[in-house]
């Protein structure tokens, strides 16, 4: 794309503040601060002051008459001095520049300078803009009053956008010059150093573009050996490029006054006439006064609007903060009030990215596009806040985002984690009417000229959104602070909870440790002494023998119960050592280990080939052991027991089943099967501690697996457990 600014760098480099010449409607004298002797002068000075100008001597004429006043002013801290010469026909303005006193002399124009008339107009204007309801009314009033005061053919009020393109907001004219209302002027029309000058010196005037510059002699300031700095001089000769621009616009006279709002160049009041137009310094001051009154009105209005916006945003921020702190999870909290989230910055869509979560509200691009935007932000190294009103231009490689994401405002919540809050604004297709094609530059003989054509040129602006205001950015920033606060507090609460859990875990460990030592010993003692007693009293009658046996059996059972409980509690803490597990091998081992206990039983085993799984082999062997041992136990009453073992892999999950035709269970109590100490059979019918299935479920929980049971009284039971394979690890199984 052609960038017109590239082509105008020649213009940007022109040192317009040191032209070495002035315009001929006045004269200039540079005086040495000590003694006010003449250091440099414009060639027309003698004619203007009606006296001698000898370098190194104090000037005479109308200038010589006011040297006393200049001397007094120079000792003060006033920025400039304006005096009317004794003859009443000359106005002198003194300023300090480059260590010199620079005096400009102009003719007063008595016929227009009725102080009373000027004051009345100013008074009217100030009252008028104070009463205007809208900014637009105030701009139009300003254009009208400046034209009335100055007598220019056309007065434009011109506002800069963020890129320094100008737009004509208000106009007042007598139709001698074409209307420029609503036209835009590219930033290149007023190069950067000219804008700097406009900010420093508020008013420029060119009474006649066809003037012959008057040179200043000597051309170098003897104090600095540099050309005299004329930044503040009203008479400063302007760039030839600018004069050509004026001629192209069909204007011979111009004046522009900077609209300075809060210290920044907001816009210009730009006046033109087809013919030469002379303005006295007093009238220029009056125009400047009008424009500065307007600037104050604009500043007040912007501050009021900004304050109102900030107030509204802070109410929304409070609502969002309440939603965040009220929810258990701040992301869910902030997304629970999408209206407040969007209104907070005036967006139409929002997306919240916290690690792998992506939640959206309103009108947003698709998730792949959002992820691509995040990736791009990561590479840009965005921290805290980032805003653009032309994302499709910043990120041209991503298609299809301009409709709802031309504007992007981003908060990076965490520097370490990938946590982002994104707001989107839709594309605003704007038809801009330029004063001539801004992209087309004219070249003649290698020199760049400003546009010759000011015919309106229409251009559609695509991929742009309404820019994010300062108040909206500030609201985003303060929301970020709030989120970070909430997240930090959450982290603190979690850390506190984790400390408490660690402590209670330690207490539990200490508890189970002492249980294992102290509870186990008495059972061992009972068994031991009962045995010793039996050996000693060989002649004990059978009833006593039986009682002794009961004592031993009970103590043994209690000892086993303690061992099982300890196993169960240790399972929660022991770390898993996972690897690929051959389930066929595990089942073989379990069958061999129970071979002795099933001697004499008629059991038909139907064992299919089992798919391998992934987990802690020792613990999974325990699962098989408990399930197979149960199947063997509960088929004891059957004449012919049938135990089926099979398995399959399905979508990254392995499932295994142990089915028997034993006593079964009532499905009503199915939920109780896997609880600790839950038994569905009477102890005298089937031995056991009631921990076996609880242990099985705990092992499977620790593998992110699951178990389910089906049964019918008298018909048998079927247990199915599932284990996820590694690539699906972490996924919940039902």
């Amino acid at each position: 794309m052609d960038d017109p600014q590239q082509d105008l760098t020649a213009c940007e480099r022109e040192p317009i503040h040191i032209p070495g010449a002035i315009q001929p409607h006045g004269a200039l004298a540079a005086l040495h601060p000590d003694g006010l002797t003449l250091v440099a002068a414009s060639a027309n000075l003698p004619a203007f002051i009606g006296g001698q100008t000898v370098l190194g001597q104090r000037p005479d004429g109308v200038l010589g008459e006011v040297l006393g006043q200049i001397e007094a002013w120079h000792g003060s801290d006033q920025p400039f001095l304006r005096v009317i010469a004794r003859d009443g026909r000359h106005v002198l303005t003194a300023r300090r520049s480059d260590g010199l006193v620079v005096v400009e002399v102009e003719e007063a124009r008595a016929e227009t300078d009725s102080a009373f008339a000027i004051f009345a107009q100013l008074n009217n204007f100030v009252q008028e803009i104070a009463g205007q309801r809208t900014m637009q009314d105030a701009l139009e009033a300003c254009a009208r009053v400046v034209r009335a005061l100055s007598g220019f053919d056309r007065v434009l009020v011109y506002r800069f956008d963020a890129d320094w393109n100008g737009r004509v907001m208000a106009e007042s004219g007598n139709e001698r010059l074409p209307s420029y209302l609503d036209l835009r002027f590219p930033a290149a029309d007023i190069p950067a150093q000219a804008r700097r000058l406009y900010a420093e010196s508020r008013l420029r005037v060119i009474p006649d573009a066809d003037y012959r510059p008057v040179p200043i002699e000597p051309s170098l300031n003897p104090l600095t050996d540099q050309p005299l700095d004329l930044s503040f001089a009203q008479l400063r000769s302007v760039s030839p490029v600018h004069l050509e621009y004026m001629r192209n616009m069909g204007t011979r006279a111009s004046m522009s006054v900077s609209i300075m709002v809060n210290g920044a160049l907001w816009g210009l009041v730009s006046c033109h006439s087809a013919e030469a137009t002379h303005l006295s310094p007093m009238l220029r001051d009056a125009c400047d006064f009008v424009v500065q009154s307007l600037a104050m009105r604009i500043g007040a209005q912007e501050r009021a609007e900004d304050a109102a916006a900030r107030e509204r945003l802070s109410v929304l921020g409070t609502r969002l903060l309440a939603a965040m702190t009220g929810a258990s999870d701040w992301v869910a909290g902030i997304m629970s009030d999408p209206d407040a989230l969007l209104e907070q910055v005036g967006a139409t869509g929002a997306a919240m990215i916290a690690e792998d979560r992506l939640e959206v509200a309103g009108d947003v691009p698709d998730k792949a596009a959002i992820r691509a935007i995040i990736a791009w932000l990561e590479t840009r190294g965005v921290t805290e806040v980032y805003a653009t009103d032309r994302l499709p231009h910043e990120l041209p490689q991503l298609d299809g985002i301009s409709r709802n994401a031309s504007g992007l405002l981003v908060l990076r919540i965490s520097d370490v984690a990938s946590n982002w809050l994104l707001w989107f604004r839709p594309e605003v297709v704007e038809t801009v009417t330029w004063a001539g094609n801004p992209h087309k530059m004219v070249r003649e003989e290698g020199r760049i000229h400003p546009r010759h054509s000011f015919e309106a040129w229409r251009e559609q602006v695509r991929g742009h959104a309404i820019a994010w205001s300062d108040a909206e950015r500030a609201a985003a920033q303060s929301l970020r602070t709030a989120i970070v606060g909430v997240v930090l507090r959450r982290a603190e609460e979690l850390a506190q909870l984790s400390r408490e859990l660690q402590r209670s875990n330690k207490e539990l460990e200490a508890f189970s440790y002492s249980v294992s030592h102290d509870l186990r010993a008495p059972f061992r003692h009972i068994v031991g002494f009962a045995q010793l007693l039996r050996e000693r009293e060989s002649g004990l009658e059978s009833k006593s023998q039986h009682y002794l046996q009961m004592i031993s059996d009970s103590a043994l059972a209690a000892g086993r119960l303690v061992d099982d409980l300890l196993n169960f509690s240790q399972l929660g803490r022991a770390s898993l050592s996972k690897s690929a597990v051959d389930m066929n091998k595990l089942v073989d081992e379990v069958l061999r280990s129970i071979a002795l206990s099933i001697e004499g039983r008629a059991i038909e085993w139907r064992i299919s080939r089992l798919p391998p799984t992934f987990g802690d082999a020792t613990l999974i062997r325990q699962v098989w052991f408990n399930l197979i041992d149960n199947a063997v136990k509960y088929t004891r009453p059957c004449e012919k027991a049938v135990i089926v073992i099979d398995g399959q892999e399905d979508d990254g999950v392995t499932r295994y089943r142990v089915q028997d035709n034993g006593v079964g269970f009532d499905m009503t109590y199915a939920a109780k099967l896997f609880g600790v100490f839950q038994r569905l059979q009477r102890a005298e019918d089937f031995e056991g501690t009631g921990i076996g299935l609880a242990l099985v479920r705990r092992i499977l929980d620790r593998h992110n697996g699951s178990i389910a049971a089906e049964g019918e009284v008298g018909k048998g039971a079927s247990f199915t457990f599932a284990l996820p394979l590694p690539e699906k690890k972490g996924r919940a199984l039902v």
């Binding site: 440790y513 294992s516 030592h517 010993a521 061992r524 003692h525 031991g528 045995q531 043994l556 300890l566």
Partner: protein
């Protein structure tokens, strides 16, 4: 019988002591059984200090050491012996009520020679004590220069 060194049994529970002594008696070992009722007494015996200052020199064939002991616990006794240059060769068998992982790990770090969990079933307990007595009291050959009874 200068070759047969005593067995040091460190046990605070009177019931466990009685059961263990009965078991040792039943296997008819000829070794003298020295009993210490807490960790401090065990250390006094092994280092010939305090009450045992006057005992004849010589190390036991094996120490059967309970974990939970008054005053100085089993792990501390184990550590003292295994860090002592002259006594680190004395075989020490942890004889304990439960198989706690942290105790196992710590004991082996400190250089225990064996770790035995007392079985609840008396016949199994009896067999374990007998095996230990026979193995460490009779079969096991100490390293050369091991301090015999009455000599050093």
């Amino acid at each position: 019988m200068s070759e047969l060194r005593p067995i040091l049994l460190v046990e605070d529970s009177p019931r466990d002591l009685e059961l263990t002594l009965t078991a040792l008696e039943k296997c008819q070992l000829a070794n003298e059984i020295v009993v210490a009722r807490d960790g401090a007494e065990a250390i006094d015996y092994l280092f010939r200090e305090g009450l045992h200052r006057e005992r004849p020199a010589g190390d036991p064939a094996v120490v059967l050491l309970d974990l939970k002991l008054p005053k100085v616990d089993g792990l501390e006794v184990l550590e003292r012996v295994k860090k002592d240059q002259e006594r680190k060769h004395i075989p020490i068998v942890m004889l304990t009520s439960s198989r706690e992982e942290q105790d196992l790990v710590r004991s082996y770090e400190l250089g225990v020679n064996a770790f035995v969990v007392k079985p609840v079933e008396f016949s199994e307990f009896f067999k374990a004590i007998k095996d230990l007595g026979v193995f460490w009291g009779i079969l096991n050959e100490p390293p050369p220069g091991y301090r015999r009874n009455g000599r050093s």
